[in-house]
Amino acid sequence: GAGVSQTPSNKVTEKGKYVELRCDPISGHTALYWYRQSLGQGPEFLIYFQGTGAADDSGLPNDRFFAVRPEGSVSTLKIQRTERGDSAVYLCASSTQQGYEQFFGPGTRLTVL
């Protein structure tokens, strides 16, 4: 079956702009995770959804970052007033339930000029 998909695969924006990154999890997976991976680093946890609600958003770096999952499936990560330091690969993963194997998408490479 289809894996986790993320769109767009690449996004180039200017400093101060607003961006939305989309994640389509594997069908039936109730848990969804967002991570950020900077060059040479491991993925950094941002937020975790169980169903429609954010069960843990402690990894969001500041209030410019926000994520939603209104119907418990597709999720959107929203970044306001982008800064050059936001440049990274944003990864999405899903799992059948918390604590189990996470399946990762290919990521969205965000470049803020």
Partner: protein
């Protein structure tokens, strides 16, 4: 708070040689432990996981890892490395603390020489 340390930024081994990648974690209770591999241009792929039970776990591609509670370690091993194993390897710890969070180490890049 949980954390993961991968002390080796990069390792070079000869094809056919054995491999051990080190991972130490910090967490107060029994953690969920994972090893992922990331090849250039590829997404993260799970190699193996430990939740409970037998402390020696087998994974895909001939990899295994051993959970040692006394050393807070979860080292990854392979008896004979293939050139196609060259990639970045990440150890991760997951724990339920009123929610669920997975913390990744910084990764170890494996180079394989002929």
């Amino acid at each position: 708070a949980q954390s993961v340390t991968q002390p080796d930024i990069h390792i070079t081994v000869s094809e056919g040689a054995s491999l051990e990648l080190r991972c130490n974690y910090s967490y107060g209770a029994t953690p969920y432990l994972f090893w992922y591999v990331q090849s250039p241009g590829q997404g993260l792929q799970l190699l193996l996981k430990y939740f409970s039970g037998d402390t020696l776990v087998q994974g895909i591609k001939g990899f295994e890892a051993e959970f040692k509670r006394s050393q807070s370690s979860f080292n990854l091993r392979k008896p004979s490395v293939h050139w196609s194993d060259a990639a970045e390897y990440f150890c991760a710890v997951g724990a339920i603390d009123g929610g669920f969070k997975t913390i990744f180490g910084a990764g170890t890049r494996l180079f394989v020489k002929a």
